[in-house]
Symmetry: C2
Subunit: 209 residues, 2 copies
């Protein structure tokens, strides 16, 4: 598809600027070239209404929010507020694929322990190996001795199950109890689309891995 052409001389600023905005918007998940154009137009129609607040929110969030060095969560403090909270159970560690899953579990308010964000799952097809995930950091946390249970809250996919098996093997020698989410998570389902009740039931009925 061609960029918008304002009919001016080659390389004019409006084309360049609006094109660049559209190209960047099109990189957002769920956005195509066409919806990016519609979004750019909506933004341009009333810059003060959405475009400037959004630009400010992105800049301030980019400056303030970073990954937690302990668990991989995103927060304005490092270590994050979950890792440093005195009210969370320090001996139960919930392992998730990504921050979206951590957010889903927090929204459901079903886990009061700590988290560990793997940053993905093992995948032969995508070439994701153990060294690509935060697995050594997980083993180090568990090896430090304060964790009594590791909950593997991984997606109910082939790659998720492979990863759960792999982690269970690696954690066996540590003596920690390893559990996984109960049946109730539908096959192939991503955690972050499930309703709170399903998440709560699956977590409550968790069983040894």
């Amino acid at each position: 598809m061609n960029p918008p052409d304002f009919g001016g001389p080659a390389g004019d600023n409006a084309t360049d600027q609006v094109d660049r905005l559209i190209a960047l918007l099109a990189k957002l998940p769920g956005m195509g070239r066409r919806s990016a154009r519609r979004a750019a137009l909506k933004l341009l129609r009333d810059p003060g209404g959405l475009m400037l607040p959004l630009a400010d929110a992105m800049r301030s969030t980019a400056e303030a929010v970073r990954p937690c060095r302990i668990c991989g969560n995103l927060d304005t403090t490092d270590p994050c507020r979950i890792c440093t909270s005195p009210s969370r159970d320090q001996d139960v560690l919930c392992v998730v694929e990504g921050v979206a899953d951590l957010w889903a579990l927090e929204r459901a308010r079903v886990h009061r322990g700590l988290y560990h964000v793997l940053g993905g799952v093992l995948s032969a097809i995508s070439g994701v190996g153990p060294e690509d995930l935060r697995i050594e950091a997980l083993l180090a946390r568990v090896g430090a001795g304060e964790i009594g249970e590791v909950i593997l809250a991984l997606p109910a996919t082939v790659d998720g199950a492979t990863t759960a098996h792999y982690l269970h093997d690696r954690l066996r020698s540590s003596g920690v109890v390893v559990t996984r989410l109960a049946q109730g998570v539908p096959m192939g389902g991503a955690l972050d689309v499930m309703d709170d009740g399903t998440l709560a039931a699956a977590l409550k009925a968790r069983r040894p891995a």
Copy 2:
């Protein structure tokens, strides 16, 4: 749906900032709450890759781009480069619903005259009347006497047809030739999703309104 809860004290900054970012992203066309969350996570994972460039593009575009006082196009100059271009036909005026349609026609490179952006179409259901559109400005431009033909390039919808009829009536006394896009634009079709060939054919075969 609940906001992400980082488990920290009430009103903590990470929740507020990320929530605000998600809420603003969700206002973009085509974005839902879930895709806004996914977009926020993608942005937060590598702020320098997309979030900061996008914030900068939005801010600089917001500061640079504004509506043309003559035609309603969006450009970094006012009047816009189309209105001030010596190479465009000054006597053919193409009336479109919105800037998206102007961009579509420019991408197709099928109209070498000027434009007039109405800012919508008449709609009894949505309560859009003539006073809500840039119709007086259109009549004033045509009344100034340099326009020989007005092309009504409006959507092939009931509201588009109503608007075309209304404009044809209002333009009758001016003596200007009023045409509309030929059949070839499918019923109910928005101009900005059509391929260049369809737009070119419809424009070339335009006939009196």
